[in-house]
């Protein structure tokens, strides 16, 4: 055996002096479905961590490597305390001793968590060994107040043209991604994470992807994709899968927020994706019903709104005095048959600073991402849009809205005037321009270039079916022949008069080189 280790053991044994420890305890009266009713535990606190004494009556040899069973207090009643068991519920017995820790539930936090997959208690589950903790933070905390915050003024580029142009997201904002199942909600969140790789390292946000109640296979695929694309270098994945207890699914988003806050308090930017809060609400409903809390609408407990509002309120852009860090939240909600007026969707819509609505009809029409421009909104994002994007994206929303209206009208009209026809054609081209395949986020300057080409009239002569080819050729041309313009937009974050003149000249030159793309 290692001599250092032997020496360490010898010293510890020499110093061993059994000390008396006085602890608050209780006794398990009832247990089942992940809930334990405890008698005793005087002065228990809400959300206090409790440890179930599973080693009682066991020989020392068996007790040494015993994993502790941990729970936390959720109901303080007249004679009993009801706790939620976080893992190993099958080991709980009636009459078992429960020790109060006097501490509210907290998780270890550390910069070393980046690149790792952890569970809702912040413990690594990727088999890459222990994570050295830098401290512990409580899982629940009061959100920062008005004085501690500053306005959202820095964009968080998603790399998705339609979002960055029309529903821009700022650092510190809460933007909901809502839609039916299979409409690309997770894809948008993942593209946003992937796109952060193109940000300069010093301003790149740390991304936290929280998977709540999802299939382990899906999570494994997501982690695999992120690893393959190099995004795990700045990402942490928090998993509470479908097979995990409801308590873990309930805790997972709070764990994500706590990790995000750790980076925010260090002055860094963080992005947290809650995928998804519908399943989170279901897990909380299950726990509340088992805790015998009175059910309300759709059997959800009365505090379901507060559950999500206190979670999402933790997203913030801190004042310069507090380091200027930010925590951006992208919660996801799954709707049933496009019904945004259901209980949980309306709750989360009202809490967040806007929503990206994904439409099943658009998805089926091959419009990807299937963003419904009319129902999507960003309440604070435009303040955080770069000048360059603001300049080019101003018109696109209006043009598309007019196109959607005319498109609906067109179904009944047989004869259309030229102006209407032109507007419809332009709308079609713009819609094509906004299409983007999964996992291919664009850099900010290329988004600006594509949209500039769209709104400046350059695409007017391009066939709708050639739009994808047009965009590819345009990007290639600028990469090889007008890289200076792209670089100027990247550094200036605006389109100065000089850059615009160069841009116009380069576009004219592109048109003459690739005349085959344009109808004569």
């Amino acid at each position: 055996m290692n001599t250092i280790l032997i020496e360490k053991i010898r010293k510890e044994i020499e110093a061993l002096e059994p000390k008396t420890k006085v602890e608050r305890i209780g006794t398990v009266v009832k247990a089942g479905d992940g809930i334990a009713e405890i008698e005793g535990l005087k002065d228990a606190m809400m959300a206090e961590m409790v440890v179930f004494e599973t080693t009682e009556g066991k020989a020392l040899k068996d007790a040494l490597d015993h994993e502790p069973v941990v729970g936390f207090v959720l109901n303080l009643e007249e004679d009993f305390v009801k706790t939620v068991i976080l893992s190993g519920a099958e080991r709980i017995r009636e009459g078992m001793v429960v020790r109060g820790t006097g501490k509210t539930l907290s998780i270890p936090v550390s910069s070393a968590m980046v690149g790792r997959v952890v569970n809702a208690l912040g413990e690594p589950i990727d088999g890459k060994g222990a994570i050295k903790e830098e401290g512990r933070l409580p899982i629940e905390r009061i959100a920062f107040g008005v004085i501690d915050r500053s306005g959202v003024d820095t964009p968080l580029h998603t790399g998705i043209k339609a979002i960055d142009a029309m529903v821009p997201i700022g650092r510190g904002q809460r933007e909901l991604i809502i839609g039916d199942r299979g409409t690309g909600k997770t894809a948008i969140a993942l593209d946003t994470i992937l796109n952060q790789g193109s940000e300069p390292k010093e301003t790149r946000p740390i991304c936290i992807y929280v998977a709540i109640g999802q299939k382990e296979s899906k999570v494994a695929r997501i982690v695999g994709d992120l690893e393959e694309r190099g995004a795990m270098a700045y990402t942490i994945v928090v998993v509470a899968g479908a097979s995990d207890p409801a308590a873990m699914q309930y805790l997972a988003p709070f764990t994500g927020a706590t990790i995000g806050e750790f980076f925010m308090l260090k002055g860094q930017d963080a992005l947290v994706v809650y995928d998804d809060l519908s399943k989170h609400a279901v897990a909380y409903r299950q726990m509340s019903l088992l805790l015998r809390r009175p059910p309300g609408r759709e059997a959800y407990p009365g505090d379901i709104f507060y559950l999500h509002s206190r979670l999402l309120e933790r997203s913030a852009k801190l004042s310069a005095k507090l380091g200027g860090g930010s925590l951006t939240a992208l919660p996801i909600i799954e709707t049933q048959q496009g019904d945004v007026s259901a209980y949980i969707p309306t709750n989360v819509i009202s809490i967040t600073d806007g929503q990206i609505y994904l439409d099943t009809d658009l998805f089926n029409k091959d419009m990807r991402p299937a963003i419904n421009v009319g129902l999507s909104v960003s309440r604070v994002g435009s303040a955080a849009q770069t000048k360059a994007m603001k300049k080019v994206a101003g018109k696109i929303r209006l043009e598309l809205a007019q196109f959607r209206e005319l498109e609906a009208f067109m179904q009944f009209a047989s004869d259309l005037d030229k102006e209407t026809k032109d507007r419809i054609e332009k709308g079609r081209r713009l819609s094509e321009l906004l299409k983007q395949p999964n996992g291919h986020p664009s850099s900010f300057e290329k988004e600006v270039l594509a949209i500039y080409a769209g709104v400046s009239g350059l695409i007017d002569g391009v066939k709708v079916e050639d739009m994808r080819l047009f965009e590819t050729k345009l990007m290639e041309y600028f990469d090889h022949h007008a890289a200076g313009v792209i670089e100027a937009m990247r550094t200036e974050r605006a389109i100065s008069d000089a850059t615009e003149a160069e841009l116009k000249a380069a576009l004219a030159s592109f048109k003459s080189v690739h005349h085959e793309l344009f109808i004569a």
Partner: protein, 132 residues
Amino acid sequence: MKASWYAEALTEALSGKNEKEAEKVLARFYEVIKAHGHTGLLPFIPAELEKIEVRAQAHREAILVTADTKSRTKWVHAYDHYFTEALLPLDTTRRDIVDETIIGGYQIRTKDLLIDSSYKRSLIELYQNITN
């Protein structure tokens, strides 16, 4: 309505009452139960009262756990110390238990307090200090 709820209410109503007063309480209790149409619960109430009594007795009990009978006398002094220090309630009665797995030392357990001076806990803590 559960029989246990009636039993709890009755226990509370009867506490501190003399025999005469208790008779009155019981008569009134029967009237209430009849008025609510819950006379069917009457056969179950005595069993519930018994449970409450057992629980109350357990609450008044302090368990002294030692690793063997030999060392018990030694640790009874520790028990007496905590008793005089008022860490244990005055109406507490002591029950002695032998549990070899604690190796040595003692544990005093009440409904909501554990005074642990066992060697087992110290050794587990030592093991955790070395391995972590």
